[in-house]
């Protein structure tokens, strides 16, 4: 199944990927990473991710990898 991998230590929680995901599969965690930011995670229990790469295109910290 297509999926994405987010490097939580690099994420700065800018939320650009959250807004751009057509299925709203990305959400912000309540905990913070070592940089002090609330990082984002993929919440995709029904495996809806299509690997469209929109989130990865928007990510300014290049911490999203997409597999298809």
């Amino acid at each position: 199944m297509p999926t994405i991998k987010i490097e939580s230590e690099k994420c700065k929680g800018c939320s650009l990927c959250i807004d751009v995901c057509p299925y709203e599969l990305i959400r912000q965690e309540r905990t913070i990473n070592h940089q002090g930011y609330q990082y984002v995670v993929l919440a995709d229990p029904e495996e809806q991710c299509t690997g469209c790469t929109l989130c990865a295109l928007m990510c300014p910290d290049i911490c999203i990898e997409v597999f298809k």
């Binding site: 700065k12 800018c14 928007m58 597999f67």
Partner: protein, 250 residues
């Protein structure tokens, strides 16, 4: 499972120091993808500006040379003239390129130096704390224009792409935006084209990228993206303003 999106090889694994949402990360990625695509990382020299991206040598796997404030096109000219086998690009912000380095960029473009210039336009001086830049929009509040930019005292925002396009020396001039995925893909195409122009020895190529600066605009990332679409793109229209072919040049 096949990996369809990965970090370009021309960038290393260092965590970037930019603020959350800053457009420099995407701009770096586009440049790095161009270096990967043409397989020129080993013979590329970048020229870093003074500004937020002053530390870009930490992130790229190619050589980066540091230039005095605004003088990146002059340094790139010297580098390219002394080593014409190298690929040289200058990466500058709007305070660096459009204000203090205006003479350097205009004359480098007019001479038709065979270099590539990537211009990041976020309408403020970012690193020094959000002061008014030549590209600051009318009415925009910054730390040095607390009542908004007024054309009576501060003049009008400068459109660099339109200014450089009529010069005979330029071969490729474009303005793109990094506000949404479709525009990022168009911007990638433009950056690739700019490097292709240099590889084919056609001449001076210039790509302006509209980016967000959430910290100095006092907005969150989503409001900043909306501001690009509502305020910046109407004043700074997107598109390719000039594209010469190799035959035209010769």
């Amino acid at each position: 499972m096949k990996q369809v999106f990965a970090k370009p090889k021309a960038l290393n694994d260092e965590i970037m120091h930019y603020c959350p949402g800053c457009g420099h990360g995407v701009a770096h990625r586009l440049v790095a993808e161009a270096l990967d695509h043409y397989d020129i990382t080993g013979r590329t020299v970048g020229v870093a500006p003074v500004g937020c991206s002053v530390l870009m040598y930490d992130y790229f796997n190619c050589d980066i040379i540091e230039a005095p404030h605004g003088r990146a096109p002059a340094v790139a000219t010297g580098m390219k003239r002394s080593r014409s086998d190298l690929i040289v690009f200058a990466y500058q912000g709007d305070g660096d390129l459009a204000s203090i380095g205006l003479a350097e960029i205009v004359h480098a473009a007019n001479r038709g130096e065979n270099i590539t210039v990537i211009f990041i336009n976020n309408t403020v001086y970012g690193m020094t704390g959000g002061q008014m830049a030549p590209t600051t929009l009318l009415g925009q509040k910054t730390t040095t224009s607390p009542y908004g930019r007024n054309f009576n005292t501060d003049g009008y925002p400068i459109r660099m792409a339109e200014m450089l396009a009529p010069l005979e020396g330029t071969t490729y001039v474009a303005r793109m935006s990094l506000d949404k995925p479709v525009n990022i893909l168009k911007a990638r195409k433009s950056v690739f084209k700019a490097f292709e122009m240099q590889i084919n020895n056609v001449g001076f190529s210039f790509v302006e990228l509209l980016t967000i600066c959430p910290t100095n605009w006092g907005m969150d990332s989503m409001e900043s993206i909306k501001r690009i679409q509502d305020e910046m793109i109407p004043y700074f229209p997107l598109g390719v303003f000039k594209e010469k072919e190799t035959e035209d040049y010769i």
